[in-house]
Symmetry: C2
Subunit: 311 residues, 2 copies
């Protein structure tokens, strides 16, 4: 499948190219800053359960990666983030306004790519997803530094932020390949559970990975007021809760380091990891009804890889 | 047709409603701050040349108005605008980040609305248009305070900023109603020319209308560095050119008032108006091949109304 992944990589480069120099530059930087292209991989794997045709399915893969990229650019504006994967963000380099439009542009390119799929269901699923992702982003603004929020609130937010787009990657791959309805459903749920697990691991890594691995200082989520699963668990301890609820943008690096150590020592990381594991188990369970073969084995490996990744 | 317009109004209100209170509030304010709903009107008129079915066509009308609204919200961020139609803008009231997401949300709602149309051509046309509109917005950032730009540059920008969306409103109305291909084409060109004329008049009004009519101070475009048609014509006079090229965001209100008077006296307004008139003539010419009837008469009146509007 790596040949097809390369093809999507080239397609992405072609699509984001623009005569507008800064725009091309910004989009290409974003593209080259890596990312694991997990959405395209899931689209292709989903497609393997139907009539796999790379010329059709590449349009879905490209669209989903572009939507993901667009949401990253807009997220960085929201978070006032300076760095992404060790490089200055688009907003840091060219300003919020330009970042806003780069996001819009990538988003528009995504739409154009998906118009190559004729099945109206594909458009409906995508539009609904984008709407939910948007709602999630607005929730994320609303919930910042809200230390009264509960687990349900967090789970709903990461569903919209991450899990939905992965669920839909799997589903749309199957839709574009004309796979059966039950297969589409199973793949959706697989992607949903994998996505939940993926985001929880991401939120854990923000505490336990090194600055080098993250490309930005550890604990950045908490500093920005994003209340993630390890934070929710850590707050069950009164002393930690006290310190955490006092975090603002102004909290010093020293205070943050100390707090991060406290969170790591509290067992919150392990608890969060257990939740992630439970989602992975559900993901593996979801694909049981799918026909055996290479694609199913690959889905299983991907789920396991996500559970183990260290950065 | 006013019954159908009312219906679209209600549909718009329903669609922008969200459980997220601020979001609902912001979108409703935007909706209620008026606007002439010219895009929905053009969609409905376009639909009259085919199999007019309001239940189908309303989805196109709603989508186009929402895309227009979304682009206004993002434009206000770009322009750092404080007022729109006499009310504080979303960015002024709730900040740039929230405005960015309100735009994204409206945009997503637009996409969802259009998925109710099954014809793939509708999706292709819309995606292509959104892409062009985005490019136009990036050009608008790039071209700010660039007093070396020429007429072609201006015309390309207003095409992307305004004319395309109006052209596509007419065309998509016809597409959704299953009108003939030639009819779709004629309507597209009618909308394109009307849109060009409409934007030129808008750019003229920014100089000649009162602050009360505009809901913001006159000459605001120039102050923000938007080089419009009256400015381009005024710059043909050396003394005016000299003053205009010195405009920055810091230019005082007194200097601006003097400059606006100078531009008004130079004949630039009249020249710009003539260009608008020529576009209107082309619009009227474009609909000649269309079948006679109420809808055609309405298209003619709308074009004439646009040519005469005073604010």
């Amino acid at each position: 499948m790596s040949k097809d992944i390369d093809r999507i990589e080239k397609e992405l480069e072609r699509v984001v190219f623009s005569k507008e120099e800064i725009l091309s530059h910004a989009s290409l930087q974003l593209l080259q800053s890596g990312g694991k292209r997990i959405r395209p991989v899931f689209v292709l794997l989903g497609g393997k359960f139907g009539n796999y045709n790379i010329d059709q399915i590449k349009n879905v893969a490209v669209a989903l990666e572009l939507i993901h990229m667009a949401s990253l650019v807009h997220d960085d504006v929201i978070d006032d983030a300076n760095m992404r994967r060790g490089k200055p963000t688009i907003n840091a380099k060219w300003g919020n306004r330009f970042a806003m439009y780069t996001g819009d542009y990538l988003f528009a390119q995504a739409l154009q790519s998906i118009t190559n799929i004729e099945n109206p269901k594909a458009h409906q699923v995508l539009a609904q997803t984008i709407l939910e992702v948007c709602k999630g982003e607005i929730e994320q603004i609303r919930d910042k530094y809200d230390f009264e929020q509960n687990l349900r609130c967090y789970l709903r937010r990461i569903k919209r932020k991450t899990a939905l787009l992965i669920a839909v990657s799997c589903e749309l791959g199957a839709i574009a390949a004309g796979a059966k309805e039950e297969v589409q459903r199973s793949l959706y749920w697989y992607g949903y559970y994998v996505g939940m697990s993926f985001q929880i691991i991401d939120d854990i890594l923000d505490f336990v990975a090194t600055e080098e691995q993250l490309g930005k200082p550890a604990g950045g989520d908490l500093l920005q007021g994003n209340v993630t699963l390890p934070v929710l668990f850590a707050m069950q301890e009164a002393t930690l809760r006290d310190k955490i609820t006092k975090v603002t943008e102004q909290t010093s690096t020293e205070e943050m380091s100390e707090l991060i150590e406290g969170i790591k020592m509290s067992g919150a990381i392990e608890e969060a990891f257990e939740v992630s594991e439970r989602y992975l188990q559900k993901a593996l369970h979801s694909i049981k009804p799918l026909p055996r073969g290479q694609a199913k084995l690959a889905l299983r490996s991907v789920a396991k890889y996500i559970g183990k990744r260290k950065f």
